[in-house]
């Protein structure tokens, strides 16, 4: 009795704490309870890493130009103990960090919050064209370049179509000798851009490199994508250097224009810059957030939002796990579904989030059934258990690789995500299922396999629900409510749903006994 009383007191405490915090955030700080999708806000974080060797350090980093169709909400610069200044140069905005003596690995952050302004007019760069510098090619390359330019000129009418033709021929699937002389598979994106700029210069068209970032939520360790901008005499036109498509892609942030370097580190080595992007469907929430940060509301200051974006992205996933755990508890205790391994279904549903539902289930079935086939052969080889599971792991890797390669050749990009499945878990699942098959027959394998998949699908559906996703990230204190539910369910001693079927025969027997 006492234990039960204590438990319910605890449940009550936890639940009121969770709901209380949520309400406080909603009512006092103005966090909206439901996502409204009016504005999409991206937080872009550039992380600069380098190694210092005890010398004076001067880091200069290009900042994205402001004259775009994006509204800059706020910019943050962070790097402890460094002097910092923001420079407005003729070539663009730059950030500069400096320090007299530094040693060891160093990191500097630049964080930018932006949202898309309402599209009024297509934004074009307005600055005037610069002076052309004729490129110098050696004789062989020059012949090849001239041939390529002639070809493009024949098929085009003006600067815009000429550029498009040129890009298309450079990217053609079956390159001619001329093309492969100028560019090949080993060439980097920068090589291609430089080549394009030079070729266009030979044609007296001024062109320049544009680097930018595709704004997609949940991306980590991104790098900039190369575009090319061409002046057609009146305005600058933007081209995708891989497809020849012109115009600014959707959700694209131009970071840098022209040839000046993205990052200069004087006094350090191994410098590297990587970008992470986080997407928030809520602009008012961000405004709340920046306001509260100014007011130093403790609840925000000590929340997940204070973490670097890369960690925030990881937490977005981790905070969904309690939902999966709750689903497993309900499925097992209330419904009575048997699964293979208690929390294996949650891991599968995490993988499903990356792979999408149908493709993920198909791949899971393919990997497990192929694994079972090969495992049944392995059982004839008299292997020790650990060796056998290790062998199964390698087999699973081989199956995954084959799926990826075959589907890639067939042009099915979905199947490439097969790598998101937890490898070791898959191998253990295959091993367990195969033992289950030998001992309890295929029926039991089917029951447990189906049970695991159904649980995984239900967990997936909950975890990908838009509102649940929003709530779990923006109101992590709701996890306490979840915890309270799980504690209560842990006390449930009633019948499981499947037991109503299992004990069905008792009803018939008792009726026949009485009659």
């Amino acid at each position: 009795m006492q234990a039960t009383f204590r438990l319910y007191t605890l449940v009550l405490l936890i639940m009121s704490a969770g709901i209380g915090l949520t309400l406080y955030k909603h009512l006092a700080l103005g966090f909206p309870l439901l996502p409204d999708e009016k504005k999409l806000v991206w937080i872009v974080e550039a992380k600069i890493d380098f190694i210092a060797h005890g010398n004076p350090i001067n880091v200069s980093f290009t900042l994205p130009p402001k004259n775009q169709d994006m509204v800059f909400l706020n910019e943050d610069f962070a790097s402890p103990d460094y002097g910092f200044s923001k420079l407005e140069l003729k070539t663009g905005r730059r950030a500069q960090w400096s320090k007299r003596i530094a040693d060891g690995p160093q990191t500097a952050f630049y964080r930018l919050s932006i949202y898309k302004s309402d599209p009024i007019a297509a934004a074009h760069a307005t600055d005037v064209q610069h002076k052309l510098v004729k490129p110098e090619f050696d004789e062989v390359l020059k012949t090849a370049a001239t041939a390529l330019l002639d070809q493009a000129r024949d098929k085009s009418a003006d600067t815009e179509t000429f550029t498009r033709e040129l890009i298309k021929s450079l990217n053609s699937e079956s390159p001619t000798q001329n093309q492969s002389l100028l560019i090949n598979n080993q060439s980097s994106a920068d090589d291609k851009t430089n080549l394009l700029v030079s070729l266009l210069a030979m044609e007296s068209i001024s062109a320049r490199i544009v680097r930018g970032l595709y704004l997609e939520g949940g991306r980590r360790r991104q790098s900039l994508a190369n575009f090319i901008e061409v002046h057609d005499g009146t305005q600058w036109l933007l081209f995708n250097q891989d497809t020849g498509n012109s115009g600014l892609p959707d959700n694209f942030l131009i970071w840098q224009r022209g040839g000046q370097s993205l990052l200069d580190v004087v006094g350090g080595t191994n410098s590297r810059v990587s970008f992470s992007i986080i997407e928030n469907v809520q602009s008012s929430r961000d405004l709340v957030l920046s306001d509260s940060q100014d007011e130093q509301a403790a609840i925000i200051d000590f929340s997940i939002y204070s973490l670097p974006i890369e960690q925030q992205n990881a937490f977005k996933m981790i905070l969904l796990l309690p939902i999966g755990a709750l689903v497993v508890v309900v499925m097992r205790l209330l419904i009575g579904i048997r699964t293979s391994g208690t929390f294996m279904p949650v891991l599968i549903s995490l993988a499903l989030i990356e792979t999408t539902l149908v493709a993920g289930i198909l791949m899971f079935l393919i990997v497990v059934s192929a694994g079972l086939l090969i495992r049944s052969y392995l059982s004839h080889l008299n292997l020790l258990l650990v060796a056998r599971i290790s062998a199964v792991i390698i087999v699973v890797i081989t199956i995954m690789a084959s799926i990826s390669i075959i589907s890639h050749k067939l042009g099915l990009s979905q199947a490439l995500t097969v790598t998101f499945f937890p490898l070791i878990i898959l191998a253990w699942t295959i091993e367990r299922m195969s033992v289950l098959w030998e001992e309890d027959g295929p029926k039991e394998v089917f029951i447990q396999g189906a049970g695991s998949l159904i649980t995984a699908i239900v967990a997936y559906l909950f975890m990908t629900n838009h509102i649940i996703e929003y709530l779990s990230f923006n109101f992590p204190e709701l996890m306490l409510v979840n915890l309270a539910f799980i504690l209560i369910l842990g006390q449930y001693t009633g019948y499981r749903f499947t037991e109503l079927y299992r004990f069905k025969s008792l009803e018939q027997q008792n009726v026949s006994d009485k009659s």
Partner: protein, 335 residues
């Protein structure tokens, strides 16, 4: 309708999985005592110390390199049982009933080479059948010879009797018979027949296969109404004595009858399943309530067995209300 209403189940007194875990297993079985029953070798030694008959131990294999000794160990025996010490639910048990030179035969007639037996032993040591995949020990036991009372009811192997014991009082009993459909395994999920046994007399009450009542054994066609368990009194007090032996309040005791040596304990289970209620066509709740309402637990296994025989008998003429009053609040575990 495919489902029975929870109300009716409660009326029949059926215990569900959650209630078993919460009201019986967690309440009566302290975690620290589990190793006594999860480790069959420990159970065996414990039983021997308590003077309870168990099948004879022929040998144990602890490490992978012991597998080489297997051949030498087995030369002396033509029939034996190989078991994982920490296996559960009958997993990994290999019964050999006949040998011809280097070939071993299972009771069903399947032939195994020494190589295959070695692989099985090596799997057990690697932990394939143990809980959580932990390294395990192999135990080789003498084969039990079937009691003539069961010979007409056995398709393969020796039937075993499961007795549920609460605080030393036998509550319910069931005989498990392997069938052709269950592939010689005594597992009710796989099609073995479960025969509910009257605690009062040791006679068969009721039999089910695949959850449906059956009147006779599907393979031998022998009717169950004639089935009676020999040595019933001894068997019940043996089961009751397992409470003192292990200290576990809620136990499943698995007993076999050997032709020559009578009842023997082969395994104890701290989380016995619930199919026994289907086989007996009765729920456990009323019996649990009666034991929980007792003021004190009789220290003598035999008098506890007598108590159970009196109160849990299927024949109502023997039954009368126990001297202690049945108070509802005491049996809160099952509310």
């Amino acid at each position: 309708m495919f489902l029975i209403s929870p109300k009716k189940l409660r009326k029949f007194g059926i215990i569900g999985m959650n209630q078993r875990n919460f009201g019986l297993v967690a309440r009566y079985n302290p975690r620290r005592l589990y190793p006594l029953v999860d480790d069959k070798l420990k159970t065996k030694l414990l039983a021997q110390k308590a003077g309870i008959t168990v099948p004879k131990l022929l040998g144990t294999l602890l490490y992978q390199h012991d597998v080489r000794k297997l051949e030498k160990l087995l030369t002396a025996y033509d029939e034996f049982v190989i078991k994982p010490v920490k296996g559960s639910g009958g997993k990994g048990i290999l019964v050999i009933s006949r040998r011809e030179h280097n070939l071993y035969f299972k009771p069903g007639g399947d032939m195994l080479s020494l190589m295959e037996i070695k692989r099985h032993v090596s799997d057990i040591i690697s932990g394939l059948h143990s809980l959580g995949g932990k390294p395990d020990t192999v135990m080789i036991e003498s084969l039990i010879k079937i009691d003539p009372a069961f010979s007409d009811y056995s398709y393969e192997g020796v039937p075993d009797l499961r007795v549920i014991v609460l605080q030393g009082y036998p509550l319910m009993a069931m005989l498990r018979l392997a069938t052709h459909a269950s592939d010689g395994k005594a597992n009710l999920h796989q099609g073995a027949v479960g025969v509910g046994i009257d605690i009062g007399t040791g006679n068969a009450l009721h039999a089910v296969q695949f959850g449906k009542p059956v009147q006779h054994h599907p393979d031998t066609r022998k009717t169950f109404s004639e089935l009676a368990i020999p040595h019933w009194d001894k068997l019940l007090s043996l089961a009751a004595a397992c409470y003192e032996m292990t200290g576990l309040g809620y136990l499943g005791v698995d007993i076999v009858l050997d032709r020559d040596q009578g009842p023997m304990i082969i395994e104890l289970n701290a989380r016995p399943g619930l199919s026994i209620q289907i086989a007996n066509n009765a729920g456990l709740i009323p019996r649990v309530n009666m034991i929980e309402s007792l003021k004190h637990i009789d220290p003598d296994p035999e008098s506890r067995a007598t108590f159970s025989k009196q109160y849990f008998s299927a024949n109502p003429s023997l039954q009368s209300a126990p001297h202690t009053k049945h108070t509802g609040s005491n049996s809160l575990a099952l509310q």
